[in-house]
């Protein structure tokens, strides 16, 4: 064990040093690695390219003998496939024919009609050729490859290809080798074209097969400017007889001499064809590759928490691929030529080598503390994983070694490759990937400049990390700035698959791109297949304008560089034969007269008038210009496969045929002259071509524009929601605001810092805001008004009520006048008492003693509110019934007690903490003075509902009580303040509607104005001089059977939810009950209604109902929580609910389908707020979290205090200026959402 420990220690230290090295010198190391990759891959250049292309081998013709089956001796460079007889010998007779001299009386059809007609003579000659010598008489019939039957399924070729007998292919096959059919064919060109496939064709077409030369070299077209027709007669022989072929060659040459044609005829080319991969064999291969890509995808998807995910994924793939290449290269270097099919074993090699190490490295590095220096992070990450990496590599090597001893050659070779691949992969991981990772991490560090800490140079090398299995990520690092999410399954699954697919499609615009790519390919195919004949024009044009002249039979030859040399330097190799000076004596069946030299030759004025038949190098092996599938497809028509076999191609027999114009005219079909002259005069041809080009370009442009427009419309139609904007938050999310995850990586702390509003001595009970002002009420009954912008405390309204001192047990009363006059003692008795008065109403300062000595608070001011209240109190003693709530009637306090003073407010506070219970079961004992249970703020009026059932209206700025209503006796559990109406829900289930009326003051009457004094409300806004009255307009006694728990008002509706499982909707104006909504099976706990009349309710049964407020019908009814629904918020597209089960669910508002859910920590998530359409804020334990609603990702967590001691955020308000207010124990916290996040909407 100690040895093992030592080993681990050593390995870890070595990896640490290596990590330091890599991170310190990234660029040199990457250069070094690239150089070594290239070096190792260099031997690959010598390997033949994979593919199914044929392989050639050339032998001399003279001493040719059929190779033996068994390899005997060393034949030097003889390839191993060159054994046994070939499938066939191919003898091509290459015919070049021209009508010469060209006469202006000739029509274009003449260019190829009579030359093609010559093929029948030649065919007859070849067929009838007989060679007789001592060994007997041989004819073509005995030598040629006898075919029996066409491949079934080629019936349409039946009329063209020979069905049985000798395989002899020539253009004459178009006319069944019958001269009469040809002569009677009115349009031979059409006959040829008739057999052409319509669409895209890449392999050999019938025309190629029959002509034996590529289409563009054949010269059979109406626009043949060369006026030379080239075709071949292909004879397929099954056995080789040199003497017969020699005599045939001599005979043909004698008949049609190609004077000065010096094509080499002493070489025989053997062409070996590889196995063609069919669809059936391709399917498993493709499947393997698909699995491979899935593997790579799923692996690289796990790379996270880095600057550039794609970059690292690319680096990982590059690492694996180049290690494979290196392994092949190294094996080649040491003489191990791969015999395995590389394409087949490649996926398995990748799977064996794997991407795991790379991912483990990445995870390990990103999980190191972010505040370390980059190279230290790299080094630590490396050394943490060193042991597992080494162990895994050793295991894999062992497995491969076992595989090596299976002694199966294929497996041994595979294992060998795998071993080399593994080692080189390890090398690349250590040098290449680590360095790339360090660069990436460094970039990320630079991105977070605010996060920079001084480099801890003196960091001791970390102890080797604990042994971890590869799958287990490092532990989350406890940090005050992180919150931990639940298991990754929750995070990954927050969006349904279909939405992910849609998002993916929309984000990458996949459909559009595919369509565009398809269009490009389509256009390419169009250009390729050339339906309009543009390419023919162009080819003709180019060949005519070519400065190199016309070396070929109608087009550009492949040997462009060679041709001029031969033309200029060696006139014997290529020679134009139009001046054949001394014609050889011709046999009797030479049907054409050789023309007159003086007439044909020197006509320099009109060069095209004399077609020049030239023989060049390229004619020697004209079959090379054919598709390499030419021969396999020809043989496959007769069900003969060439796979893994070879054919021998004999040297061509060149034949030159000259025809006189007279012969051409004689050969004409009667209809030929009636064909219109091809309307392309020479001069306008260029113009025509240009015009066509322009037309095509213009059409293409128009089509492109149209396509773009179409795609745009499609995009608009298909993606009506602006998915495209999701890219912004997505990118944002990726770059900066990374959520903390299981790996303990925490995003850097941002600039969001909450503003703490301190002042309340006890926990905050109610919170209300109207955007500008913020009112809060604590358990002590004190109301404070804050400026929502700056967080300044504007007003303090102390509790005027009675407090019972727990120590003395007697009733104390805090009287304003007393506290004014006896300020000193109250100050010393309760130093922490909140007597920071607002100085707004200093107009009447002179009436009262100066208050500056009263308070130690910096914003000391004069409490007008207190004065007003006290004046009011004196003039209007409260009725005893106001304090007697029905449930606490037994111990109602004596009314006179309120005139007592409180000697010790500070210690009186603690025992008075009462849990506000909406159920109202154990609410305040009667001896406890009424506390504020509900509060609302509108304009600058604070409506406070007290447990005593009293409704008070306070001036928020001045802190003065404007009016009060004590009509109700049951405690007000909820308040709604809308326009000039106040709705109060009471504990006994009744609902009271109040009207706030404002009238202009008359003198000083405001101090003694009785409540309920009616006058006309002038306007919703009122000044401090206005007299405000609050009148009970209607009281619905039994609105609910049980206590009302929730009350919301918006859009002229008041919605109440109660313990009795029902929701009621009232109209605000006439307080008439519109609907009673039933559907919940538990008490209503949350209601949401907004200006758009959407109504959502959540109950204790965990159900959420969406209602139509206009009809009272239930729109949808969903279950998502296993406890109470604690909070509900809607945006225009979704509904967000939180429950007692600490789950936040996001539902689609229109369909009621749950989009995703967020599992939160225990004990938080009761409060919700929506800042914008895509930004959700939730309260947690001592923190608030911002979530991206589109993706369900945590954007940021803001901690309210340094100590996260479990003070949950229970209430949370979103203000208009994108700030949020939440309670935090006895403090209020004002969090400004940073500008970064504001851009989201």
């Amino acid at each position: 064990m100690t040895l093992r420990e030592q080993l681990r220690e050593k390995i870890s230290a070595a990896f640490y040093r290596h990590g330091l090295l890599c991170a310190s010198y990234p660029v040199p190391i990457i250069l070094f690695t690239s150089a070594s990759i290239l070096t190792c891959c260099y031997p690959l250049l010598r390997l033949p390219l994979p593919g199914t292309g044929p392989v050639e081998f050339t032998t001399g013709l003279r001493d040719y003998s059929v190779p033996f089956h068994e390899p005997q001796g060393d034949f030097g460079e003889r390839p191993d496939w060159y054994r046994g007889p070939p499938v066939a010998y191919i003898q091509q007779v290459l015919v070049k024919a021209a009508v010469s001299p060209w006469d202006n009386s000739l029509v274009p059809v003449d260019v190829f009609r009579s030359p093609l007609g010559r093929v029948f003579n030649l065919l007859e000659e070849i067929r009838n050729h007989v060679h007789s010598d001592s060994s007997g008489i041989r004819s073509l019939e005995s030598l040629c490859l006898q075919v029996t039957d066409l491949f079934p399924g080629l019936r349409r070729m039946q009329s063209v290809l020979p069905e049985h007998g000798c395989l002899l292919v020539s253009p004459g096959n178009y006319w069944q080798n019958q001269r009469e059919l040809f002569d009677s064919d009115p349009d031979p060109f059409k006959t040829i074209q008739k057999h052409e496939p319509k669409g895209l064709h890449t392999s050999a077409t019938l025309r190629d097969l029959l002509f034996g030369v590529p289409v563009k070299y054949s010269g059979v077209s109406h626009y043949n400017r060369k006026r030379v027709v080239t075709y071949t007669i292909t004879v397929v022989l099954s056995s080789y007889d040199a003497r017969f072929l020699g005599s045939l060659r001599a005979r043909l040459k004698q008949l049609h001499p190609s004077a000065n044609c010096t094509l080499r005829d002493d070489h025989m080319v053997h062409v070996h064809f590889k196995e063609e991969i069919g669809i059936a064999e391709l399917i498993p291969l493709v499947t393997t590759y698909i699995i491979l890509f899935a593997y790579i995808y799923f692996s690289t998807r796990k790379i996270d928490m880095v600057k550039s995910k794609w970059g690292l994924a690319l680096a990982a793939v590059v690492t694996v691929l180049s290690s494979l290449l290196m392994s092949v290269g190294l094996c080649t270097l040491f003489g191990l030529t791969p015999t395995l099919n590389g394409g087949e074993i490649f996926p398995y090699l990748v799977v064996v080598i794997g991407l795991e190490n790379v991912l483990v490295l990445t995870k390990s590095v990103v999980s190191t503390p972010v505040d370390l220096e980059v190279k230290l992070r790299i080094a630590q990450g490396l050394s943490n994983e060193s042991w597992s990496i080494m162990k895994n590599m050793a295991t894999e090597l062992c497995i491969i070694l076992i595989g090596y001893f299976t002694l199966v050659p294929a497996i041994q070779e595979f294992c060998l490759f795998a071993v080399v691949g593994l080692v080189s992969d390890f090398f690349l991981q250590m040098f290449f990937f680590t360095t790339v990772l360090s660069i990436d991490i460094r970039r990320m560090e630079l991105a977070d400049l605010n996060r920079r800490l001084p480099a801890e140079a003196g960091m001791p090398p970390p102890k080797p990390g604990p042994l971890r299995t590869r799958e287990v990520p490092p532990p989350p690092r406890p940090s005050p700035h992180t919150i931990t999410l639940q298991t990754p399954a929750f995070r990954n699954l927050r969006l349904p698959k279909r939405l992910r697919v849609v998002y993916f499609l929309a984000r990458t615009r996949l459909a559009q791109r595919i369509i565009m790519a398809g269009t490009v390919i389509w256009i390419g195919i169009l250009v390729y297949t050339d339906p309009a004949g543009i390419r023919t024009y162009l080819a003709a044009q180019v060949s005519e304008q070519s400065p190199l002249g016309d070396p070929g039979g109608g087009g550009l030859p492949p040997h462009l560089g060679v041709a001029p040399v031969f033309r200029g330097g060696d006139p014997t190799s290529t020679l134009s034969i139009h001046r054949a000076p001394d014609p050889t004596p011709l046999p009797e069946n030479q049907s054409q007269g050789h023309h007159d030299p003086p007439r044909a030759g020197p006509i320099p004025q009109s060069p095209p008038a004399v077609p020049q038949i030239t023989w060049g190098e390229e004619d020697e092996e004209g079959w090379r210009r054919l598709s390499f599938r030419h021969w396999p497809s020809l043989f496959s028509y007769y069900n003969i496969t060439l796979a893994k076999r070879y054919i021998s191609i004999l040297p061509v027999i060149p034949i030159t045929v000259h025809l006189t114009p007279q012969e051409a005219i004689d050969a004409r079909h009667p209809q030929d002259t009636r064909h219109p002259q091809p309307p392309i005069p020479k001069i306008s041809a260029d113009l025509q071509t240009d015009l066509t080009l322009y037309k095509v370009a213009a059409l293409g442009l128009a089509a492109g524009v149209l396509l773009v427009l179409l795609l745009f419309c499609l995009y608009r139609v298909l993606c009506p929601r602006n998915y495209g904007q999701n890219g912004v938050p997505h990118g944002r999310r990726r770059r900066g605001d990374l959520p903390c995850d299981d790996y303990g990586y925490s995003p850097p702390v941002s600039e969001i810092s909450p503003l703490l509003l301190r002042g309340h001595s006890m926990d905050i009970e109610c919170l209300a805001s109207d955007g500008m002002l913020l009112a809060s009420c604590c358990l002590a009954g004190q109301i404070r008004v804050w400026d929502a912008q700056t967080g300044d405390c504007l007003t303090v309204i102390p509790n005027h009520g009675l407090r019972r001192s727990s120590s003395s047990g007697c009733w104390d009363h805090r009287d304003g006048w007393d506290s004014m006059t006896g300020a000193q003692e109250s100050e010393c008795l309760s130093p922490e008492r909140d007597i920071s008065f607002n100085g707004d109403g200093l107009t009447e300062d002179e009436l009262y003693p100066p208050p500056s000595h009263l308070s130690t608070a910096p914003r000391a001011g004069f409490d007008f509110g207190g004065l007003v209240e006290r004046a009011y109190m004196e003039h209007e003693p409260p009725s005893p019934s106001a304090y007697a709530s029905p449930s606490s009637a037994s111990s109602s306090p004596p009314s006179g007690a309120q005139l007592q003073r409180s000697p010790s407010l500070g210690e009186a506070a603690t025992p008075l903490i009462q849990e506000r219970s909406p159920m109202g079961g154990t609410q305040a004992a009667g001896d406890w003075e009424s506390s504020v249970w509900a509060m609302e703020l509108r304009g600058n009026l604070i409506a406070a509902g007290r447990s005593s059932g009293k409704l008070e209206l306070w001036d928020a700025v001045e802190g003065s009580l404007r009016c009060s209503n004590e009509d109700g006796v049951s405690g007000i559990t909820a308040l709604a303040f809308l326009n000039n109406r106040i709705v109060a829900a009471r504990l006994n289930g009744s609902l009271d509607f109040f009207t706030v009326e404002i009238n202009k003051p008359l003198g000083l009457l405001q101090y003694r104005g009785p409540p309920g004094r009616s006058s006309m409300p002038q306007s919703p806004c009122y000044s401090s001089e206005d007299v405000i009255s609050c009148q009970l307009t209607r009281s619905v006694q039994c609105a609910h059977q049980k206590p009302i728990t929730v009350l919301r008002a918006a859009a002229g509706r008041v919605v109440t939810g109660s313990q009795d499982h029902t929701v009621r909707v009232y109209r605000l104006e006439d307080s008439c009950c519109l609907f009673t909504l039933q559907g919940h099976s538990g008490g209503i706990t949350a209601i949401y209604i907004d200006q758009t009349m959407v109504l959502a309710s959540g109950g204790q049964d965990g159900a959420i109902c969406l209602w139509d407020v206009l009809t009272g019908s239930r729109v949808s009814h969903v279950y998502g929580h296993c406890g109470d629904v604690t909070s509900l918020v809607c945006t225009t597209s979704c509904v967000i609910s939180s429950g007692l089960d600490d789950l936040i669910c996001i539902w689609d508002r229109s369909t009621g389908i749950k989009l995703y859910s967020i599992q939160q920590e225990v004990g938080c998530g009761a409060s919700l707020g929506v800042i914008s359409e895509s930004l959700l804020v939730t309260g947690g334990q001592g923190c608030v979290s911002f979530w991206d609603l589109n993706f369900g990702d945590l954007l940021q967590t803001v901690y309210l205090g340094q100590s996260s001691d479990g003070q949950g955020v229970r209430q949370l308000l979103v203000l208009d200026n994108a700030a949020i207010v939440c309670d935090f124990g006895s403090e209020l916290s004002l969090v400004y959402v940073p500008s970064v996040l504001e851009k989201l909407d």
């Binding site: 498993p284 593997y295 398995y348 399954a489 749950k1154």
Partner: protein, 237 residues
């Protein structure tokens, strides 16, 4: 470290179970859509369908490999069809795959030992790739004799289990199903439904049990992963 993770996942699992029991109670009162989504039967059906399609696909592809090498012979008229094997082969394989893939997580939960080894899709993909590789080797690599081939494949299959599964229940189930599958194949060949070109183990090829075993391990892996993915999704949806 791993302990915390275990605890976390354990908590998630127990939470799941509670959730399940709860949702079972609430089934009657839920809306139609939600109940469809969270319905255990539907969930099972979806998983079964996915496994079935995977099995059919793999059967087609792997059979193609065998047919190419003329290892299995089907009646000639069937070969000309596009699937190149009898219609019942993919169906049987798909059904077996679905059953195995559902059986594995079920047994895991019965035994109360949730499978936690390498629970990620990349590992599953690796497993599938190795399985295809084993098939490839059995079809395309020329071995000296059949014993060697069978031993190599057996070693590869055990290696597959060790690399991707490592659970005793998986091993046992694999052995059982491989045995059953071999038996069934023997019977099929005995009754002349199809035949092998060169049988060396009664009527079949001796490597067939290894292939069966590897296939069972692979499908079990996929099934477990699907169950893992489906459960939280049903929970959260």
């Amino acid at each position: 470290m791993s302990l915390t993770l275990t605890a976390m996942s354990g908590r998630a699992v127990t939470g799941d179970q509670q959730q399940w029991s709860r949702s079972g109670e609430m089934q009657h009162s839920r809306g139609p859509y939600i109940s469809v989504i969270t319905n255990r039967t539907t969930n099972l059906l979806i998983r079964g369908a996915m496994l079935f399609s995977v099995g059919v696909f793999l059967a087609l592809v792997l059979n193609l490999l065998q047919v190419q090498r003329n290892i299995t012979l089907f009646p000639p008229d069937v070969i000309t069809s596009i699937f190149s094997s009898a219609w019942w082969v993919p169906l049987c394989c798909g059904t077996a795959a679905a059953m195995i893939g559902l059986l594995y997580p079920c047994i895991d939960s019965r035994l109360g030992e949730p499978h936690k080894f390498k629970r990620e899709w990349s590992s599953v993909m690796r497993c599938v790739a190795v399985f295809v590789g084993i098939n490839h080797a059995s079809a395309k690599v020329d071995f000296a004799n059949n014993v060697q081939l069978s031993l190599t494949l057996a070693a590869l299959s055990i290696g597959l289990w060790w690399t991707f599964d490592r659970s005793r229940s998986g091993f046992g189930l694999g052995i059982c199903i491989a045995f059953l599958g071999t038996l069934v194949t023997q019977l099929l060949v005995y009754n002349g439904v199809f035949q092998y070109t060169s049988p060396d183990f009664l009527y079949i090829r001796s490597w067939l049990p290894c292939i069966f075993f590897a296939g069972v391990i692979t499908m079990g892996n996929i099934g477990r992963q699907l169950a893992l993915r489906c459960k939280p999704s049903a929970f959260s949806q």
